[in-house]
Structures are given as structure tokens and as C-alpha cells.
Symmetry: C2
Subunit: 202 residues, 2 copies
DNA sequence: GGTCGACTAGAGTGATCGATCTAGCGAGGA
DNA sequence: TCCTCGCTAGATCGATCACTCTAGTCGACC
């Protein structure tokens, strides 16, 4: 879905640009990332950038948000799908996030949060792209909660609480350069999921 | 504490610059806010900016973070101190945040989150300023939880959970332009506080 | 009343921003 | 063999970036 050209083999340059931009966005945000930095990091010529993204920086941003969001959503699938049960999967996700923070010196966190806050009041197309991503995360969370036996309505509220906890913990951990908040939220998230699950069984 | 000059009456220009910058930071972030925008919004001459903030944009940023963080911390005092009980105060804070979001078309939210994520991997002085602010929020939260009868250790964990929920809800609400997440988190926050309080009484 | 420093005021600095331009490369079809 | 066209390649555009500079204003203190 992300490639406007009709067919043909995927252009590696285009993908390199998207990957490099996603990486820079996570670390420096949208306005903090220059197009020159992008082509340098992607090892791509400047002309290729505007050939593949004629809509300029904003169009590139919209696509990067969608792509990064989808990759993160797939991480939900991998971890929640691979866990022995729902509650364990939820805990694994938070603890995995803590591990990632430590491993990257608190640089890599949520792929869209930094950009989302920056552009929420500035770029409507990018805000909408973020909204779509978050809703896809919620939908995936609801699906796994549903498989565990939780009805759609409480599943949505639970999933939103979990995402809020995760995003907030990302913020606190990056600011403090410690994973204390993430570990506290991991325990809270598991307890919440466990409680909703127990409630669903009555 | 914020004024380096030894004494004298407070300069309104300096305060106007700080207020205008805080406002712009909330909406557009750090890199998204230009010094020219600042002086325009503050109705201050360009020369005054660098007279009052010889350290440039980063020094201005550090001071704005500290100032905005302290103002928000005082809001904790006002709401938690004015509520009939701790749990109600917690709920009031979240619902007040939801009201603020709606009233400002989802522009005004956490005064430091946008900047914090942007500069966490870029500017160490600003990251540290954010860290100090968050710790001050936690300390205030712990204090009010303590007055309600909660021991310091569970109080800290509870407060961190509440701040994470709040920050995450700010993100989701700004992205979705809806307060659903904040309302869900408000209920969750109250339930969490109530449970910890009940546990403390046994 | 004169002096001095705090502050105002804005033109101007080089650097970098996002974006555009033309030129050339190289593989597939006529 | 030549032509076409997706793509590479980078020089270059005006605008804007954070910041510096000098000149001028104003009020407090001697």
C-alpha cells in the first residue's frame, strides 16, 4: 500500500530513505530532522528524495509514521502471539520496551510519540496518520484481549490504558535515563490485564 | 531563583519572553519554535532576548522547562489540596486535563512532554531540567499520597503510574482529538489510588 | 546635573532550512 | 542501434535559522 508506482521490484533507495527517516524522527523529532540529514543517513542522493516523495517533507513524514506504526503493531503480534498467555504477553511487551531503552541508551522508544506531539497542532495530515496508527494498535490489542476471553468494550478500555501506560513510561524513562517507570508500569499493566480477565470469567 | 541579576524589580519583558516561549513550546516543540516567533509573540525586541538569555535558545529552553514544570506542579497543589479527599483529587486532575484539552482544541497539554521527547537525546542540559521537573511532580504526588495515609514506597510507585497514565492520555487525546483516553485513564487512576489507599489501611 | 549601567531596538552575520532545477546514467523495448 | 524513461546526482534557489553587533533610550545614583 505505501508505494504509489504501479508495479516493479521495490526500490532499495526508497526503503533506505524511509528507514533512515524513521530512525531520525525517533531521536530528533520531525522539525529536528533535516532533509539533508535524511539523504546522508540513507546514503541516497538528494534528487532521489524528491523523486520518491514529491510531496516533500510532510508526505515523507506521513509515510514514515504509517510505516513505523505498522512495524510496531507487528511487534504486538510477535510478542502477544508468542506468549503463553495474554497477561504474560502484556508483561513481556513492557519489559521488552525497558530492555530496548537500556540497550539504545534511551534513544529508541515509541516510533511515533515524539513526532506525534510535535505535529499534532501543526500538520493535519500527519496528525491523522498518527491517529490511524494508534487506532490500529488499539484494534490489535483488542483482538488479543478478545482471544483471551475479554469482551470488546472492556478490551478497548483496557488496551487504551495499557498504551497510555506504555507511552507515559517511555517519556519518563527517556527523561530520567532509568527504567524504573517502565518496570512499575509493567507490573501495573499485568495486574490490570489479570483483573479484567478475571472479571470477564465471571 | 530564576533571575541571575542580583536584585531589582522583575523585568516584565523577561517574563513575557518566558511565557510566550512556554506557550510556543507546548504547541510546536523546541526545534519547531523560532527565536523570531518568540520575540513576536512576546512583543519584545530581539536584542532584549539575548540580553536576558545570553545562553541562547538552549538556556531559554532550560529556564522555560523549569518554570512551566513548576507552574504545573503548583496545579497539583491546587487541585489535590482543594479536593475533599485524595482519590477525588486524582480524578479531578485527570478530568480537568480533559476539559483543558477540549477548551484549547487539543493544543494545550503537558507543558514539557513535547519538548522532553524532542531533546532527550539531543540536549543534556534540557533533559536534566525535564528530569528535575518530573521528579518534583513525583515528590508532590508522594506528599499528597502520604497525607492520605500511603507509605512512601507504594506512594512513589502509584504516583509514577498516575503520571504515566496522564502523559500517555495526553498523547492519545492530542492525536485523536478526542478525550476518550483521558476519561478512561481518569477512572483507572481513581481506581488505582483507591486500591492503594485501601491496601494501606490494612 | 552629569554619569553609568541596564535595557531596548533592529539591522545584519554566516549557516542551514526545505525545495527546485537541469543534466546524466543505464536498462528494456522498438 | 537508438530511444525512452525511471532514477540518480548535486548545484542552486530564496527563506529562515540562531545569533551578534552597534546605536540609542531611560532611570538610578553620586
Amino acid at each position: 500500500m505505501p508505494t504509489p508506482p504501479p508495479a516493479g521490484p521495490p526500490a532499495p533507495t526508497r526503503d533506505r530513505i524511509l528507514d533512515a527517516t524513521a530512525d531520525l524522527f525517533r531521536r530528533h523529532g520531525y522539525t529536528g530532522t533535516g532533509m539533508k540529514q535524511v539523504v546522508t543517513a540513507a546514503q541516497a542522493p538528494f534528487g532521489s528524495l524528491y523523486h520518491h516523495f514529491p510531496g516533500g517533507k510532510e508526505a515523507l513524514g506521513v509515510e514514515v509514521i504509517g510505516r513505523s506504526g505498522e512495524m510496531y503493531r507487528q511487534l504486538f503480534d510477535v510478542i502477544l502471539g508468542g506468549a503463553p498467555d495474554y497477561v504474560t504477553g502484556v508483561g513481556d511487551f513492557f519489559l521488552g520496551a525497558a530492555e530496548l531503552l537500556r540497550a539504545t541508551d534511551y534513544e529508541d522508544a515509541c516510533p511515533i510519540a515524539t513526532v506525534a506531539l510535535e505535529i499534532a497542532s501543526t500538520s493535519e495530515p500527519m496528525r491523522e496518520a498518527c491517529d490511524v496508527v494508534v487506532e490500529s494498535w488499539i484494534a490489535t490489542g483488542v483482538e488479543y484481549a478478545g482471544r483471551a476471553g475479554i469482551a470488546p468494550e472492556p478490551a478497548r478500555a483496557l488496551t487504551i490504558r495499557l498504551i497510555c501506560l506504555l507511552e507515559g513510561a517511555f517519556l519518563l524513562c527517556r527523561v530520567a535515563k532509568r527504567t524504573e517507570a517502565m518496570e512499575i508500569c509493567a507490573a501495573s499493566a499485568m495486574a490490570d490485564a489479570r483483573a479484567v480477565l478475571a472479571d470477564a470469567r465471571t
